[in-house]
Symmetry: C2
Subunit: 113 residues, 2 copies
DNA sequence: TTGACGTACAACCATTCGGTTGTAGGATGA
DNA sequence: TCATCCTACAACCGAATGGTTGTACGTCAA
């Protein structure tokens, strides 16, 4: 049970970091964090085809960083509330483990002194 | 000047997120955050070739998340002190922008009430 | 000196990625 | 209704990724 759960978490984490590993997608997240934007509004900001931007939004959506909501004929994209916090927490966990290492080093230094 | 500086930051950020977008590499970072490990010590933990693990370490090193130090015939890998914090700060920045959006929504709700 | 160990790196392979163009379908306004 | 706007998606392409095996080089111990 926990094995498959861990695998799911890993899948999710893979997807999230992969999604953020592209500057266009990071820029999209920044912009839709400020206000909801349609795909075509987003597309007009970048020097690439509409389809390319559409793919980027799809990647972000699959990673759960962004949600889409149909409004009339446009599809309004918004940053997901909890997702960014989740990523930061993952990094925070890493930082805690790293801090443990630093404390060990400090302890060793104190021992020498 | 600032343009090229921004481009460099983007390159770095691309590399960091990309490096963390693989569960084996995340696991390596976690482990070398606790204690320095040689590449072969790392390699013995994963069900893949030595060369594959070596490549993963190289990716982490290029992203600046990890440093290698020669000790005898082994190459001790350690998590880089500032790097993880840098990544967390990047996420923090995103979260600040997202929080700005939430405050706008709160303001609108207050207006209605 | 000679093995054995730890590492580096090249070459190769299948798959994924980031981009393109083209086609098709649902919603809107005249 | 009909032209237009916005979106969706398939097919394709070159480059990068994640893995493999094989070869070569430095370092240590006997």
């Amino acid at each position: 049970m926990t094995v498959s759960a861990d695998a799911l978490i890993d899948d999710r984490t893979d997807a999230v970091f992969q999604a953020l590993a592209d500057r266009t997608r990071r820029d999209i997240v920044r912009r839709v964090a400020v206000e909801g934007l349609s795909v075509s509004e987003l597309a007009s900001s970048y020097d690439m085809s509409f389809a390319a931007v559409q793919k980027h939004v799809a990647v972000l959506e699959r990673a759960g960083l962004v949600t889409k909501e149909r409004v009339g004929r446009s599809q309004v994209t918004r940053a997901d509330v909890g997702a960014i916090r989740t990523v930061r927490d993952l990094l925070g966990e890493l930082e805690v483990q790293w801090r443990g290492r630093v404390e060990r080093i400090d302890a060793l230094l104190a021992e020498d002194a």
